[in-house]
């Protein structure tokens, strides 16, 4: 295996890890309006991800940083090409992060309500836009001979890309509902399960449609098994949820997220950003990669640190393993 192939794999792992983790964070954000009935319930939901959302988001920063280091051209084309959608994502991530931290810092009704609106919208919009971005990336966008994106904003909003956005939004909401069912007690836990049943069905329909479309347009022999795993895992998650096996259901919705994005990366390889203008101008793992020396250095760092990071992050989840309900939420201060 070449180093640049290894780095393609690692970047795929970082993005997939990000979507697994922040996927349910976004889902929880959406559920603060879709599921919670009052402020106490909203706070229960927010606090299920309270100690972990920040570290989950660092997976994104690491994925972007690793892309910059290992495939500078991929990073440059992707970030400058998807300029306005990424601007929207940035604004949402800024407001959402501040909202978690500041919402409880004042007691005023308007203050709290505004931040709660922010949490909802700033979870929903990125959840949608990441799907749009990845759909465009796997399908290919207009890229010229100098590796620069030559399309406009509307080129990024094709029906296919919008379907991809809808899929990630609904899938993350489903994933978040199962996380809520796993992490809460009381009435909200049961409603989270019911909500997961419905949103899971919708996610299933969208997943079949979008992944089959992807397979037909950009797929290959490697991506097909991932598609099958994604769809089967989603169905199994629904079954597990119905039987009340919350841990299994959440693990399986996680597997769905993993398999769906793995499918996209498998369909992509060995390209990293195919050009829809001319295949010769596509960015690939070879023409977009850094030098072997740089790849070697960052391989050592990533090889050591990734397992360490995963270990202490997993420990955090263990420390905060207890389910919470409205009775655990202290009075506003």
């Amino acid at each position: 295996m070449h180093l640049h192939d290894f780095w393609f794999l690692l970047i795929a792992v970082l993005w997939i890890g990000y979507f697994f983790l922040e996927g349910f964070d976004f889902g929880i954000g959406v559920l603060t309006k879709a599921l919670a009935r009052d402020r106490a319930e909203r706070r229960v939901l927010i606090n299920t991800i309270g100690p972990v959302w920040d570290a989950n988001e660092v997976w994104l920063i690491t994925a972007a940083g690793a892309t910059f280091a290992a495939f500078p051209d991929w990073y440059a084309t992707l970030f400058s090409g998807f300029y306005l959608p990424l601007l929207a994502v940035l604004v949402c991530l800024i407001v959402r992060g501040v909202a978690f931290e500041y919402r409880h810092k004042r007691t005023g009704e308007r203050w709290q309500r505004n931040w709660e609106h922010a949490i909802f919208w700033c979870s929903l919009i990125p959840a949608f836009l990441w799907g749009v971005a990845f759909a465009n990336m796997v399908r290919g966008v207009p890229i010229g001979p100098d590796k620069n994106y030559t399309g406009g904003l509307l080129d990024l909003l094709s029906p296919y890309a919008l379907l991809g956005g809808l899929l990630t939004l609904v899938l993350f909401t489903f994933h978040g509902a199962l996380f809520a069912a796993l992490k809460t007690v009381g009435d909200i836990r049961h409603r989270a399960r019911a909500f997961a049943g419905v949103s899971g069905l919708a996610a299933g329909v969208l997943a079949v449609a979008f992944l089959a479309w992807t397979q037909a347009e950009s797929g290959n022999g490697r991506s097909l098994p991932a598609l099958v795993v994604a769809v089967v895992a989603l169905a199994a998650a629904l079954v597990a949820n119905r039987r009340g096996r919350e841990g299994w259901a959440f693990a399986l919705s996680g597997l769905t997220v993993v398999a769906a994005f793995a499918m996209i990366f498998l369909a992509l390889f060995p390209d990293v950003m195919p050009s829809s203008t001319d295949a010769r101008w596509s960015l690939t793992v070879t023409n977009a990669a850094s030098s072997p020396y740089t790849l070697k250095i960052i391989s050592w760092v990533a090889g050591f640190m990734t397992p360490v990071v995963m270990a202490y992050q997993a420990w955090t989840y263990w420390v905060f393993r207890k389910r919470i309900g409205t009775q655990h939420i202290p009075a506003a201060h």
Binding site: G50, E101, V319
Partner: protein
């Protein structure tokens, strides 16, 4: 196209605004993390409540601040690709490595352990909880190290070769990038300045509380119960702040001097621009004040101290320092073009340099005076010594207290200089980044060649306006929150966890006679000590 609205100009404004804004939070985060960690350690070791209250109080302000630091940091990472894609393509091989290391080594530390620290008061044993904030503090320092290594490479590229086939910079020696003297000195300078920033912040807020209490006493009023209880924590904080201010201020001055020499060697233009030194001079003077005219190439008004610039550059008072004109001519001969193309904004560099030093050193001086006048025992007659819950008298000499007027102004200066290092930091960055122009990577890539070719005027204008609007709103929100919590002071009713929490494995909870199960049942419905 109108130059003022050219995509390059807009992208530069955006980078400048978002970076200076981000760096308002960074130094406070770095220093408050470590100082909070120190205070928590004091609490864990002594069990004294004042340390607990101080930890909680500064921790709260630290959290309000780090939230902004984290989210505005994401913009920094994204915008290299978004607005400077040609830069990213050219330097990614070198510049990306420290960024990736920063994420893997530093950001995960910070973000994971901050979550454990915020929510872990009743879940983690004291010592482990305290270790969490130390890890956050280490994370912030590591983060600054890696990002400054990347920035230093832009100031002084080392350990690379330009690939003949692709025309891009290729990393050849990571060690050189991570350990070159520019990196080391800049890290030293930035970290000491960060601690000066946090120290001034702490001194300012502590002074506010102590002076408010003192004024009340002077008016003959009794302090409220809460205000009295807050005094020990505020007094300790004041002393900690002053000690840190003096050490960090001294470190900032020393490292600044070293940085000047490194800069003179590596970027002579920046040194000449910092002084608006148009002609090469020996010995070269330090200019205190000057009004220059770039087009005429000389200063119309000037106040100078002879020989000091020579000292800053060479450590002696006589040697020659090359001026702007000679340096620009040399660069033009080397890289082509006209000499004027190589002259940065003299107005910004000259004044940026002065404001940086002025505001930074004022804070240092204020810390020095404060540390002396509030001393506890040293060279102090016993009758003037004050206890742990009393507001110190400001003592000039052994038996002489400052008069009412000077006392009043000493406390006020403590409060008013609270934000001085923030101003100094901002101008320091503006100076060093604008002083490098026209280069993005010194000697290798010009800023004009670094922008994203595919990102048009409309898009950059949109993002610029969005960021300015959003950041302005958030600034108001943040400052109001900080003011609210800073004014409220430590919550002295809050008690530390009654018993040290233990890390436990989930118990089976089956047997009724199992004391652990009974305890677990009792705790099952206990509210969280902290919740969002």
């Amino acid at each position: 196209m109108n130059l003022a609205l050219a995509p390059e100009t807009l992208a530069r404004w955006q980078f400048g605004i978002t970076t200076v804004y981000h760096f308002l939070f960074v130094p406070l985060t770095i220093s408050l993390a470590a100082i909070t960690a120190g205070l928590e350690t004091a609490w864990v070791r002594t069990g004294k409540e004042k340390y607990f209250h101080a930890t909680k109080f500064w921790g709260k302000l630290f959290l309000i601040n780090i939230a902004m630091g984290v989210v505005t940091g994401i913009v920094q990472e994204f915008q290299f690709g978004m607005n400077w894609s040609d830069y990213s393509r050219f330097v990614g091989d070198v510049f990306g490595a420290p960024l990736a290391m920063e994420a893997l080594l530093a950001f995960f530390f910070e973000s994971t352990f901050i979550g454990l620290w915020i929510f872990g008061w009743d879940k983690l044993p004291k010592k482990i909880h305290c270790a969490c904030i130390w890890i956050v503090a280490v994370g912030t320092v590591l983060s600054s190290y890696f990002i400054l290594a990347a920035n230093s490479w832009m100031q002084h590229p080392v350990g690379y070769a330009v690939d003949k086939a692709t025309g891009k910079a290729r990393l050849t020696d990571i060690w050189a990038v991570l350990t070159q003297n520019t990196t080391m000195v800049v890290v030293f300078h930035t970290l000491t300045a960060a601690f000066l920033t946090g120290a001034a912040f702490i001194v300012g807020i502590s002074s506010f509380h102590l002076w408010r209490a003192k004024r009340k006493r002077l008016k003959g009023e009794e302090l409220g119960d809460k205000q009295r209880k807050q005094l020990p924590a505020m007094l300790t904080s004041l002393r900690v702040g002053l000690v840190v201010a003096v050490i960090a201020g001294l470190g900032t001055a020393i490292s600044g001097d070293q940085l000047g020499k490194v800069m003179y060697e590596q970027q002579p233009m920046k040194m000449a621009a910092a002084e608006a030194l148009w002609e090469t001079q020996a010995p070269a003077p330090f200019s205190v004040f000057a009004v220059g005219d770039v087009s005429k190439g000389h200063n119309s008004v000037e106040i100078e101290i002879p020989g000091v610039l020579s000292f800053l550059a060479h450590s002696n008072f006589t040697e020659s320092v090359p001026g702007i004109k000679d340096t620009a001519a040399k660069q033009a001969a080397l890289h082509g073009g006209k000499p004027e193309d190589y002259i940065p904004s003299i107005f910004m560099t000259f004044w940026g340099f002065r404001l940086m030093i002025g505001f930074g050193m004022t804070s240092f001086a204020a810390g020095l005076v404060g540390l002396w006048t509030t001393r506890k025992k040293f060279w102090l007659a016993p009758e003037y010594r004050t206890g742990e819950d009393e507001i110190p008298r400001l003592m000039l000499t052994k038996n002489r207290e400052l008069g009412p007027f000077l006392t009043k102004w000493s406390w006020r200066i403590g409060i008013l200089t609270m934000g001085f290092p923030l101003i100094a930091n901002s101008f320091g960055w503006i100076f060093t980044e604008m002083g490098r122009q026209p280069w993005a990577v010194y000697g290798l890539m010009k800023t004009g060649d670094a922008v994203s070719p595919g990102v048009g005027q409309g898009m950059v204008l949109t993002s610029l306006l969005v960021f300015v609007g959003l950041y302005a709103v958030l600034a108001v929100v943040e400052v109001k929150l900080l003011a609210k919590y800073a004014k409220a002071g430590p919550d002295t009713d809050e008690k530390p966890p009654a018993k040290d929490p233990r890390l436990r494995f989930p118990s089976g909870g089956s047997g009724t006679g199992d004391p652990a199960a009974a305890e677990a049942a009792e705790e099952a419905d206990k509210p969280m000590t902290f919740a969002y």
